[in-house]
């Protein structure tokens, strides 16, 4: 951000009347000044002055609004103002002190507010729906694994909707697939949008009414009803916001769909902001819906007066009845009712809470630092104060002066902290993973400015109160008796400062350990063996709309042709396609029935992938046994399958799986080969998998395929030629979401990277603040003990001994702080348990490293004061008396 924009931003913080009168002029004057001397110092001086004048102008504006006290200077506000002036002048005389204090506070408050903004929007803020506490999400689980969150069958949902009586409305969503639709508007480039199949109750449960037209009715819950509800954004984009859109048709997936409604701009789909249109869900009790077919997600609104527990009980009653009636499918099946909010935030909750705690610690360390600074300052001034008290100065006035001083610093720190927070939120969002739930709703909240200011004022009063109280209680004679030797502040206050610094070290230890553990975990994650090579591999998705590619032969022919054309592109080495990219999460978990060595029927879950072309060669996945698919495996030949090593071991153990037959998806398949495991998640998790040839599978279902293309050069270079090749075959098809395979993996590690980045930043801030604290305390101790050091050196102490004494002091403080920090870190390690991968949150190596790093930093921070101590000239030190 440039100087003028910063200045303008600060001017915006001034009272409205003042701003309107002078804002433009102030900016003009600043610009004139800057034109004359375009230096950073110029701008910084202006910014600092704007910040420092801010509280006074606000107070004056308030006084102007209350004309009841027209007399100048005699009103308490007037004297407060003159006091503020006095105080700011005193602070300006020690710019170093003010700068360090304000900067420290700005960092603490800024980091805290920024992270709190995210937390506020992600976790604390209600969902953007009416009475969100009544909204729940439904999941399938089982008696054996009651914590599962699996997809639901339409039939179970219909039973619950009709029989439970727990909900006013129940809506289904088809989130299972990354449901997309190809939009082919006349005369425009075709593109793919995110479309959600929803039932009639979906919008009703969310109490979302359309802007135009209507939403779906239960009569439309049938397959292939070509009715469409548009999001506000899509309506603006494809129909230019045409108010007469209702009743018109839009070509989607090769089908003319009639627009029946347009949602309001404020409406946000549960599945995400990017859902652009909605189609009616198929909830028929026949056809593709069966008690085997788990593919739906569902939300519902509790009836008024029905609690979550009651709803769960009623749903369980329906499911228990189903278990009795349909034992074959439902014997062990249960359904869970969870609050929608908990579910939406989901996994990011853990890391957000940890970050919130870390930000709180940074604020704590900042406050400790500032308290320390103020304490040192008050000790330095206590002689002055004592003299003034002795001369009859008003004690309350002295305390008040102290308080306004700390308040002033706190307000300036708060204002600077708001700036840090403002940018912090932007920064957080720019580096935050898309997977951070609801991140699109995060913004700098004006309420949080209030939060920052409240923190500030509280901090100000807190660290202002102690030194002020101390200063007022000092017995003048005592201080003056200590003579010109200067005030050492007494043992007590020195100890307070030592404790404060030890506290900083302790907090820094906690944060450093947190960052260290996360870093080690992230490194472990990076190193994890995924079972495939993503190097120079580009991916994109191609979907064949059912309306134009209804016949299996057509789909087959298309993919074979397209694959061949891709292979012929310059630089392309290998081309394959798969129904779901590797390391992209669990998908299509189907039941597999096989025979064990005794010939008994067994079943297990396996993830089904459909393969086209040279998938395994492109990804560098080894074929361990048997053969891969060949041109002879066609629609009309017997079904053949490859299985991965995990499934081979699980189902067949030491036996040779080649030639074995198993059933899945209602067909029988024969194992022709075994391939190496490919991770299904970016953290390396393996799962039994079955690979079916697209050539055989395409007869059954029409799944979109993700192409993987390995090039000799950069992965992205292939996108343009591939798009042209696709258009040459069928100009209405979309080359969807082109991205390197590396990015697919990285996307799933984004949350970890994000958490680590923030934690590392916090730890760095904490470490620097702790170093500043140690340095401050030791440097101060040396100045205060110049006399004593002088005497020692006069008596023959060697420089090494003097240096050692100072460093020992620093190390003692650090050791106490580290001890406390290590104990606290062990206690807090549980919070990290769910966030780390492949490392214990109590990793001894991390603990040891942190101790060494902090020890080194403390020694470095103590070195300068220690060296200064050895430079003390005994004679001068003694003469100083």
């Amino acid at each position: 951000m440039s100087g003028p924009r910063l200045v303008a931003w600060l001017i915006r913080l001034y009272p409205a009347e003042f701003r309107q009168r002078f804002g433009a002029e102030m900016l003009a004057t600043y610009l004139d000044q800057r034109d004359a001397a375009p230096t950073l110092r110029r701008t910084l001086a202006t910014l600092g002055n704007l910040l420092l004048s801010l509280p006074a102008v606000h107070l004056e504006a308030r006084r102007a609004r209350r004309p009841a006290h027209p007399i100048r200077r005699t009103s308490s506000m007037g004297s407060f103002l003159s006091e503020l002036r006095q105080v700011s002048r005193a602070l300006a005389k020690q710019p170093g002190f003010a700068a360090v204090a304000i900067l420290t506070l700005a960092l603490g408050i800024g980091a805290n507010t920024a992270v709190f903004s995210v937390l506020n929007s992600v976790v604390l803020a209600p969902l953007p729906y009416d009475q969100p506490e009544q909204l729940v999400r439904l999941y399938t689980a089982s008696r054996q694994e009651p914590e599962l969150r699996q997809f639901l069958t339409a039939l179970d949902l219909l039973d619950v909707r009709e029989q439970s009586g727990a909900f006013t409305d129940l809506g289904t969503l088809y989130t299972y697939r990354e449901t997309g639709g190809d939009l082919t508007p006349a005369g425009e480039q075709p593109r793919r949008i995110r479309v959600m199949d929803v039932s009639a109750g979906y919008f009703k449960a969310l109490r979302a009414t359309p802007l135009l037209g209507r939403t779906f009715t239960p009569e439309e819950e049938h397959p292939a009803v070509p009715h469409l509800v548009l999001s506000y954004r899509l309506w603006k984009e494809v129909a230019n916001g045409d108010p007469n859109i209702i009743g018109r048709t839009i070509p989607l997936n090769g089908r003319e769909c009639e627009v029946i409604g347009v949602m309001r701009p404020s409406f946000r789909d549960v599945a995400g902001e990017d859902v652009a249109a909605w189609l009616p869900a198929n909830l028929e009790r026949s056809g593709s819906n069966s008690r085997y077919n788990h593919y739906l997600s569902a939300i519902a609104r509790l009836k008024p007066g029905v609690t979550l527990a009651q709803a769960q009980a009623r749903v369980s009653a329906v499911m228990a009845r189903n278990a009795a009636w349909f034992p074959q499918t439902n014997r062990d099946r249960t359904m869970r009712v969870l609050p929608l909010l908990d579910d939406t935030v989901g996994e990011s909750r853990g890391s957000v809470y940890v970050l919130m705690g870390a930000a709180g610690l940074v604020l704590l360390i900042a406050c400790l630092n500032v308290a320390n600074l103020f304490l040192a300052r008050s000790l330095g001034q206590s002689r002055d104060v004592a003299i003034r008290t002795a001369l009859g100065a008003n004690r309350t006035r002295l305390i008040r002066q102290r308080l306004s001083e700390s308040l002033l610093v706190a307000v300036a720190g708060g204002a600077a902290g708001s700036l840090v927070a403002f940018w912090g939120v932007k920064l957080l969002l720019s580096v935050s993973p898309t997977s951070l739930a609801r991140a699109e709703e995060v913004g700098f909240d004006p309420v949080l400015l209030g939060f920052a200011l409240a923190t500030t004022v509280l901090t100000g009063l807190l660290f202002g109160a102690v030194p002020a109280w101390r200063a007022s209680r000092v017995d003048p004679t005592e201080v003056l008796h200590e003579g010109a030797r200067g005030n050492t502040g007494g043992r007590g206050s020195r100890r307070v400062r030592d404790v404060l610094v030890a506290g900083q070290v302790a907090v820094a230890v906690i944060l450093l350990i947190g960052a260290g553990v996360l870093m080690k975990s992230f490194v472990a994650l990076q190193r994890v063996e995924l079972g495939f090579s993503a190097e120079r591999v580009e991916t994109f998705e191609v979907n064949l709309p059912a309306a134009r590619y209804g016949r299996p032969e057509r789909r087959l022919q298309f993919h074979e042709q397209f694959g061949r054309r891709l292979t012929e592109l310059p630089g392309v080495e290998r081309v394959g396609a798969v129904s779901w990219l590797p390391a992209n999460g669990n998908y299509h978990i189907w039941g597999v029935e096989y025979r064990d060595s005794a010939g008994a029927a067994q079943s297990t879950g396996a993830q089904i992938r459909v393969v086209e072309g040279d998938l395994f060669e492109t990804l560098g996945v080894p074929l361990l046994r048997g053969r891969s698919f060949s041109a002879g495996d066609r629609l009309d030949t017997n079904g053949v399958a490859l299985i991965n090593q995990s499934l081979a071991q699980k189902a067949y153990g030491a036996r040779d799986p080649l030639g074995e037959a198993f059933q899945t998806g209602g067909r029988s398949w024969r194992v022709i080969g075994v391939v190496g495991d490919i991770a299904v998640e970016a953290n390396g998790t393996r799962y039994p998998q079955v690979y079916l040839s697209h050539a055989q599978f395409a007869g059954n279902r029409n799944w979109s395929l993700s192409y993987v293309v390995r090039s000799a050069g950069s992965a992205e270079a292939v996108i343009g030629p591939a798009r042209a090749a696709l258009a040459a075959l069928d100009p209405a098809l979309v080359l969807h979401r082109p991205r390197p395979l590396d990015d697919v993996v990285a996307r799933h590690r984004a949350r970890e990277r994000f958490t680590l980045l923030l934690m590392a930043t916090f730890a760095a801030v904490a470490l620097s603040l702790a170093a500043v604290g140690v340095y401050g305390v030791l440097a101060y101790a040396v100045t205060q003990r110049v006399h004593e050091i002088g005497v020692r050196m006069a008596l023959g102490a060697r420089p090494g001994q003097v240096r050692g004494a100072v460093l020992r002091h620093g190390l003692l403080i650090a050791a106490i702080g580290m001890g406390a920090g290590l104990v606290a870190a062990v206690g807090l390690s549980r919070a990290l348990e769910r966030l780390v991968f492949g490392v214990s949150p109590r990793d001894p190596l991390v603990f040891l490293t942190v101790v060494l790093v902090l020890g080194a930093v403390v020694l470095a921070a103590g070195y300068l004061p220690a060296r200064r101590a050895t430079r003390v000239q005994p004679l001068e030190a003694l003469r100083g008396e």
Binding site: E25, L27, A28, T29, D32, N49, L51, S53
Partner: protein, 118 residues
């Protein structure tokens, strides 16, 4: 404010007095005041806009200065420049403050203080 007597504004804050005295000579805009201050009191830190406009606001409200039309053409760079000059009351207050300071400086105690520095 019409019946204000100059005395009730005394003593003036030092910067208020400086700006008032500069504006008694000629009409100046914000940056003009900054420049004039820098010329007249080179050892002082530069006047910053936060402080400057607080003072301008205060002097305007007290009726000691007023806004006037630009005495000469300004470059047309869309920067807002308003010119200020003292009012009759402002001139009176400035003179009263100057008198007060003169009396203060002429006092034997002050002179002794100045004498000690040599």
């Amino acid at each position: 404010m019409s019946k204000s007597s100059p005395k009730q504004f005394l003593p003036l804050a030092p910067l208020d007095f400086q700006i008032l005295s500069l504006l008694a000579g000629r009409a100046l805009h914000g940056y003009g005041i900054v420049q004039a201050c820098a010329e007249a009191f080179p050892e002082q830190p530069a006047l910053e806009i936060g402080s400057l406009y607080r003072i301008i606001s205060r002097l305007l409200d007290a009726g000691l200065i007023r806004e006037v039309d630009a005495p000469r053409a300004e470059p047309d760079d869309r920067r807002v420049r308003r010119y200020y000059t003292v009012t009759a009351l402002g001139r009176g207050v400035g003179q009263a403050e100057a008198e007060r300071l003169r009396a203060l400086l002429a006092h034997p105690a002050t002179l002794r203080l100045l004498g000690e520095r040599r």
